[in-house]
């Protein structure tokens, strides 16, 4: 589904990603772990199409098509979703109106008509229940004054509504207490199916106790330095990242 080849990216002239190769197939969950500043969030942003980052080399293929030149909205239309580490507060736009606009714009891009109001309402009810969200929450301004946990829950709610093919969860576990973490993980797990894929970006292993990855990659200094199964996450949790650094140093 997603194939990244030799991806280099920089921001303000500073090189952050230095040759990433990554392939994710439908039905899989991949995790990307790594120390702070290794380029995890940059990778998420570059896949989502953030124009602040410049792709200097390499390609991103999504369902065999090169999406490197596409705008963020075009990528969303193709079924890529990014759950933000720090969701933006937008006063004056309610959660409901926002998600309605979002869904209908995606439908429009696919030549479909607006979703009928009753269908939309039903879907909103269903998906907000999945994430144990309060009705009142839906009429509040988007992310304005939301707690960290509410923001993340709202991200997963949007994901549930949009039903993306590829969901990228950028540090979704940060700012969540244990109950919220469980609700969010349950939500993510229930949305998984054979046709979609998930890329979990996280600093810690704790989210991976709930959302079990098929493949774990370690990102350091803009490169994937190690790839393994779910046990790699546990190993990192126990040993930290330093041994990997040493291993790399020895290799070079």
């Amino acid at each position: 589904m997603l194939k990244i080849k030799n991806l280099h990216a920089s921001v303000d002239g500073e090189k952050i990603l230095k040759g990433i190769d990554l392939e994710i197939n439908a039905g899989e969950v991949h995790a990307i772990m790594g120390p702070n500043g290794s380029g995890k969030s940059t990778l998420a942003s570059v896949i989502a199409g953030n124009e602040d980052f410049e792709v200097t080399e390499g390609d991103i293929l999504f369902e065999k098509a090169n999406i490197s030149e596409l705008s963020p909205e075009e990528r969303a239309h193709k079924g890529i979703f990014l759950s933000f580490q720090y969701p933006i507060e937008i006063p004056g736009v309610s959660v409901t109106n926002f998600i309605k606009t979002s869904i209908n714009q995606v439908r429009k891009s696919r030549g479909q008509k607006d979703m009928p109001a009753n269908e939309m309402l039903k879907k909103i009810r269903e998906k907000s229940a999945l994430l144990d969200m309060d009705r009142k929450f839906l009429s509040r301004s988007l992310n304005e004054g939301f707690s960290g946990g509410e923001k993340k829950r709202n991200e997963i709610f949007q994901m549930a509504m949009l039903e993306p093919k590829l969901a990228i969860l950028d540090e979704t576990d940060s700012g969540l207490d244990i109950d919220a973490l469980r609700i969010v993980s349950d939500g993510v797990n229930r949305l998984r199916n054979k046709g979609n894929a998930t890329l979990v970006i996280t600093h810690y292993q704790r989210l991976l106790d709930y959302v079990i990855p098929d493949v774990v990659h370690v990102l350091m200094d803009g490169k994937i330095v190690k790839t393994g199964g779910k046990e790699l996450a546990k190993e990192l949790e126990e040993r930290g990242y330093d041994w990997l650094k040493e291993e790399r140093a020895e290799m070079t």
Binding site: S71, E73, F81, I88, I90, G92, V93, S102, Q105
Partner: protein, 437 residues
């Protein structure tokens, strides 16, 4: 001939059209003398520092248009709030159009200033209200001097006007350039309720200069809800002078939607003459090209325990200019005043300008007053966030701008107005309205 000289000589001709024996005429004479001494405002005056009238004063305006009323309902329908039942008072080139209007004398008066000024049965009302709260200023004095026609609205004690009243001023372009000076008087007696919608609209690109004065009297416990829709051609300019006197326990809210016009100046003054008054001043301004809007507001807190809320939002693109000069004056007696003011602006292009100047003069020591103004740009992070949800750039920008203006639109009590303004804004932003805020 300079416009000022032309107006001075026109005044002599004007005197032949009106009843010079009437007391009103003394008021006019005094006003023209004041205008003669002061002339038009210039940028040297503090209150006009950011707005120059030079570009519009050089036109050769007709002061007395020909009485040629060739307008049909279909020509003006789109400028009306026509999907709800309203009283309408329509003026074409400053002249009342009976066939386009729906006036009334039943329960309330929604009719003509010319009748009110001339008929003896209105004399006591005119003595009490006409030109009583209009300050001696150049533009309002000029209007007073030529005061002859406009809307006269009186809602008697404890009457609630069951439908809104629209005051519509159209210019036809029959004159190559036209100057009109509507004079409105609105009286909501004690306990009365009324909603007013006012619009000035040119039907062609011929230059128009409107210098209007509206006096609004809000009686005890009365409520006036006023909407000004300013979405005129870029060849038309408007100097709107609106003066509002509130008595105790009254509420007056006034929304100004400035979406088009060459130069628009809103001189808006609220005077609170009783306790527990609430004054609400709100505005949304969205301009492009070289359009210029200047909001000059004053809330004068004279009595204790009153409130005022000013909230103006502006979005400026290309080379447009916005000015906000908002004053709050709290007298020594006006203890426990709550006065708030906020002016937020977004500049979309490098060539756009915004001047925001809050002015607070507080002579009482137990009050809550605040003001805040911001001038900024659209939040790029928010834009990116919306785009990752599949909302295209243009629509995402529009959504953010709507969100920005939302709390002003939210307080509009007539849904049809809210819909229209929302549609107008969408049209300006060139988006299809896929969302309802």
């Amino acid at each position: 001939m300079e416009l000022k000289e032309k107006l001075m000589s026109s005044y002599l001709a004007f005197e032949e059209q009106v009843d010079m024996e009437n007391d009103i005429h003394n008021v006019r004479n005094k006003a023209i003398k004041f205008f003669e001494t002061t002339g038009f405002p210039t940028k040297k005056m503090e209150a006009w520092k950011y707005t120059s009238l030079n570009s519009i004063l050089k036109e050769d305006y007709s002061i007395f248009p020909k009485k040629e009323d060739t307008i049909d309902y279909k020509d003006i329908k789109k400028y009306l709030i026509h999907d709800i039942d309203t009283y309408t008072i329509v003026f074409i080139d400053g002249i009342y159009s009976s066939h386009l209007s729906r006036t009334t004398h039943d329960k309330l008066d929604a009719c003509l200033m010319s009748s009110a000024l001339n008929k003896s049965k209105y004399k006591s009302i005119m003595d009490k209200y006409f030109n009583k709260i209009v300050p001696e200023e150049s533009m309002s004095s000029l209007n007073t001097a030529f005061a002859k026609e406009g809307a006269y609205i009186r809602i008697p004690k404890n009457v609630s006007a069951e439908k809104p009243i629209q005051i519509l001023n159209f210019s036809t372009g029959n004159e190559s350039a036209l100057m009109v000076q509507p004079r409105n008087l609105i009286i909501a007696e004690d306990g009365a309720h009324v909603q007013i919608i006012e619009r000035h609209q040119s039907l062609t690109d011929n230059p128009v200069l409107t210098n209007s004065v509206t006096e609004v009297y809000v009686g005890k416990n009365a409520e006036v809800d006023y909407y000004k829709i300013q979405n005129d051609k870029t060849t038309s300019s408007l100097i709107d002078n609106t003066f509002i006197k509130q008595e105790r326990d009254s509420t007056c809210s006034l929304h100004t939607f400035s979406l088009g016009g060459k130069i628009t100046r809103n001189n808006l003054r609220f005077y609170q003459h009783g306790e527990n008054c609430n004054s609400i001043l709100k505005g949304v301004t969205i301009l492009e090209g070289k359009q210029h809007v200047d909001h000059n507001t004053l809330v004068h807190h004279i009595e204790p325990n009153c409130e005022s809320h000013q909230d103006y939002k502006g979005i400026f693109s290309e080379k447009s200019v916005g000015v906000f000069n908002g004053s709050i004056l709290v007298d020594r007696l006006a203890q426990k005043t709550n006065a708030f003011q906020s002016n937020n602006n977004i500049l979309l292009d490098d060539g756009a300008t915004c001047n925001s100047k809050p002015q607070l003069e507080i002579f009482a020591d137990d009050v809550k007053c605040s003001h805040g103004c911001t001038i900024g740009q659209l939040n790029n992070e928010a834009l990116y966030y919306l785009r990752t949800r599949g909302i295209p750039k243009k629509e995402a920008r529009a959504l953010l701008m709507f969100a920005f203006a939302n709390n002003v639109l939210d307080s509009v009590k007539i849904p049809e107005i809210k819909n229209r303004i929302t549609k107008q804004i969408a049209l300006k932003l060139e988006v299809e309205l896929g969302f309802n805020l």
